[in-house]
């Protein structure tokens, strides 16, 4: 309900609602993109870009589902494009860091990871991309499997299977780390 109020206020020119949207979804989007990319600077640039693009269209924005889901999908799409671009550069022999692909400079560190998040994020990096997407979107983007299946253009059973395998691997990785 609050999201509908926020969008409604933004539709009517109330810029103060931007701060609430930002405050509400900043951490979630930062966690989501940092987990998808394992690259802090690229993740920060994507989140900034998602927020700025949302603000640019907020006056005419129409909320059909959840705002969290919308923003998470935007961030996940951008993260996927960034990874694809990085893979293309690798195959064409251009040696460039993923973070270097972003246009906006990131002078100061935005995301400050807790020790726990650093461990989790590191473990996420060990997952195959499809599993990492499912786990991240479900746990950090609060997206139901049905929506993730639509986004990944696959069946809900495949998504559930990816989630189960991904979580099992994370469980094993995180247990190993915690025990050392």
């Amino acid at each position: 309900m609050e999201d509908r109020v926020l969008v409604w206020r933004l539709n009517r020119g109330d810029a103060t609602a931007l701060a609430r949207v930002y405050e509400k979804y900043r951490d979630g989007l930062l966690r989501l993109t940092a987990s998808l990319l394992s690259d802090r600077a690229a993740a920060e640039d994507i989140v900034q870009d998602v927020f700025v693009r949302f603000a640019a269209t907020a006056r005419t924005f129409r909320l059909t589902g959840s705002l969290n889901g919308y923003l998470a999908t935007c961030a996940a799409n951008a993260a996927r494009n960034t990874l694809k671009a990085a893979r293309r550069r690798e195959t064409t022999g251009i040696d460039e860091d993923i973070a270097g692909a972003s246009d906006a400079p990131s002078p100061e560190r935005w995301l400050i990871s807790s020790e726990q998040f650093a461990r989790v994020s590191g473990a996420m990096g060990e997952l195959p991309p499809e599993q990492r997407e499912v786990v991240t979107l479900h746990l950090y983007g609060d997206m139901p499997f049905r929506e993730i299946a639509e986004w990944q253009k696959t069946s809900i059973k495949t998504v559930q299977s990816r989630y189960r395998y991904g979580l099992d691997k994370l469980r094993s990785l995180l247990n190993g780390e915690m025990n050392t």
Partner: protein, 299 residues
Amino acid sequence: MRSPEETERLIRDAAVNADEARDASVLGKMREAYAGSAPVVSTRRPDYWGLVFESRLARFAAVAVILLSLIIIVGQFGAFIAAGNVAWADVTQQFQTVPFFYASIYVKRDALSWPLHCELWMSKGGNARVHVNSQVVFGRDGRVIRAFDIGQRKEVEPDLAAADIIRKLATPGEFSLETLIQCISAGKLVDITPAMDAHAAIGEDLVVFHAKLAADPGWARIYALRESRLPVGLRMWQVADGFTLDALITYPEEPPAIAFDPTAFATELQNRANSPTSLIYLFLNEAGANDVMYGSPPQ
């Protein structure tokens, strides 16, 4: 080896923080982008009730609350409808005599979705308490006093739907039937005066009253006990997509006044020993059983 649930919790609880200077920079860019977009055409004042009805879920939850209100107020308009030997007015009058009631409301967006839940406690003294999502909202005489988020353990702005529930339910004396009809989403209810539905009555001890929806062949039904004349249930069904709303109304023993005291609640909110569950039902007599009470009210 931790369980899958513990692993999920570990991942969800992995927190991040953000640098404040960068926050200011990003927010500045957002404001610039917003200011640079097309100007606003409409300058109408906020229509919060209309906003509530933009959400179908909130709209139907509100309709449930309004129908509960109708149970309270319809008697004032002299709507005597025979239902066997029980009149609708009997039900409304009997409901007005109870000192306290609890309503548990479930809403499903469509036939395939999971239900969402809202809880309401209300006493005759004008006190109301609503649990919606992670919020517990306190009201008195139709006004929200304070709202708390259980997850964040802090005072917050009240959930808009909860605030409307408190406002509408706590001021029955100010209700006008015509206004209510207009509020119910532009005449979606054709027949707001419930009539007896003998076909829907499944037992002699249950009386069913029936109201129709306008935009859909759907309906709303209010279930009352024949002997006590008290309403105990409400059911709405929209045919097009299987949207349903179910409300169960019970009449537990009235809780102590502290159950409606937001100051006492705020104090307990800071006590980390109180779990989210115990906070949601703090000081209420019947959280599932008569002999269970979360928290110990001072003697």
